[in-house]
Amino acid sequence: MTGTLLLTAVALFGGLLLIMLALLALAVRGARRRQESAPAAIPLDIREALADYVAGSDDLSRLRAVVATRRGQIAHAIASLHQSLGGSARDRLCSLALEFGLVQYWIEETGSPYPDRGRNAYAQLASLSVYEPCRRIASDVLLKALKSEDSEIRLAGYRFLIHTRAAGELKFVLEAAISQNLLTRIRLTEYLRSHATTLCERAVPEWLRSGDVRRLCGILDILAAWERAIPLEDLDRLLHHQDPEVRIRALRLVPLVPCTAGNAAALMSALADADPNVGLAAAASAGRMRLQEALPLLARLLRSASPEVSRAAAAALAQIPPRGPQVLREISGGSNAVAAAAAGEALLRFDHRGAA
């Protein structure tokens, strides 16, 4: 009886010990994984060592000591800094990532069974692919990413293509941007912004000749989102497009393209368009361009029955001093309640801006 009890006690104790060992192993593994998977806070010694390196120091001894024991942390630090740096400093960081085997580390991580780690690895490779030697090593993985079902991973593939700066690849990404979900489109639009000039040479004009209204609207939305001057000469035709959705989007671009007589005339006629939304877009552009000749039509729009159009016209008038604010003052005391309210609001904002 005593022997049985003793055996049971030993078995229980052994089992307990095994469970504790298993828990300990799990905790150690978890801690290692947390360290590998890039903690949020970057330790000061790594920050300082990287700062020295980026500032021009070629002494890698401090960084080498760190990479031997805390590869995850240094990978995270390089990835974090890489997003903020440009020029030769960025190239130095990429070169460091290569030297420390981090490109290979992230290539291996793309196969991680943990989706977040895989996505993170693709994102880091995409960032580093701005540097040609890294791009060469990661190209197979990033090209494969284009076929992924995961939109985050596909995004890494598109960023890789953008970094090649080749006109054909940029065109491919632009086409993809139009057909992707809205979030991906927004992000690709941002990545493509610095290549606007290259894209406007051939790819964009080709797209603008498309008869597909949905795609046409997509590309016009991207151009407007770039919010930068674009060398586009073929806008006139779109300003007279039969579909008001296309006209509205084309009107938003007028302040961003070279000012031609055709564009200005189309903008003026859009201020009198039967579709109130077209008038609204035209008013916004006329105000932004401070078109003095648009004043009479804007004043007429201000007296329109729609409060929304009235407000847009008033806002535009406020941007065309000195005559625009004068018109607003005259109308703000008038009998048309909608127009007077819109003019009053715009004047308040105008006076506030002047005071600031």
Binding site: A41, I42, L44, R47, E48, L50, A51, D52, V54, A55, G56, S57, A77, S80, L81, Q83, S84, L85, G86, G87, S88, A89, R90, R193, E227, R228
Partner: protein, 116 residues
Amino acid sequence: VLVADDDQMVLTVLSGVLQNFGMECHAAPDGGSAMQLLRRLRPHAAVLDVNMPTLDGFEVLSAIRSEALGIRVLLLTARQQESDVLRGFALGADDYMVKPFSPLELVARLKRLVRQ
């Protein structure tokens, strides 16, 4: 030079780079502490991130100008929309740089500002 950025990594790198180029550098992790240091130290120039806790870079810049602290200001931000750049200059920024930025270019711009 005072450098204000809520990204610790960028802050350390900026401070390191400026010190390597012989500039005395003070760092602030947010707009509020940047403002305190600016009032106390009256540096020759300030490099301000725009998106920061407590006070953003535009607010710090406004305060510098309204208090006539006589400090050159370079805004350093990821915000590259035309409206942001125009707002920065309208508030009195002496220069505006967009992230990702080249530290060497930033040093060159700062040197020019300080010389002025």
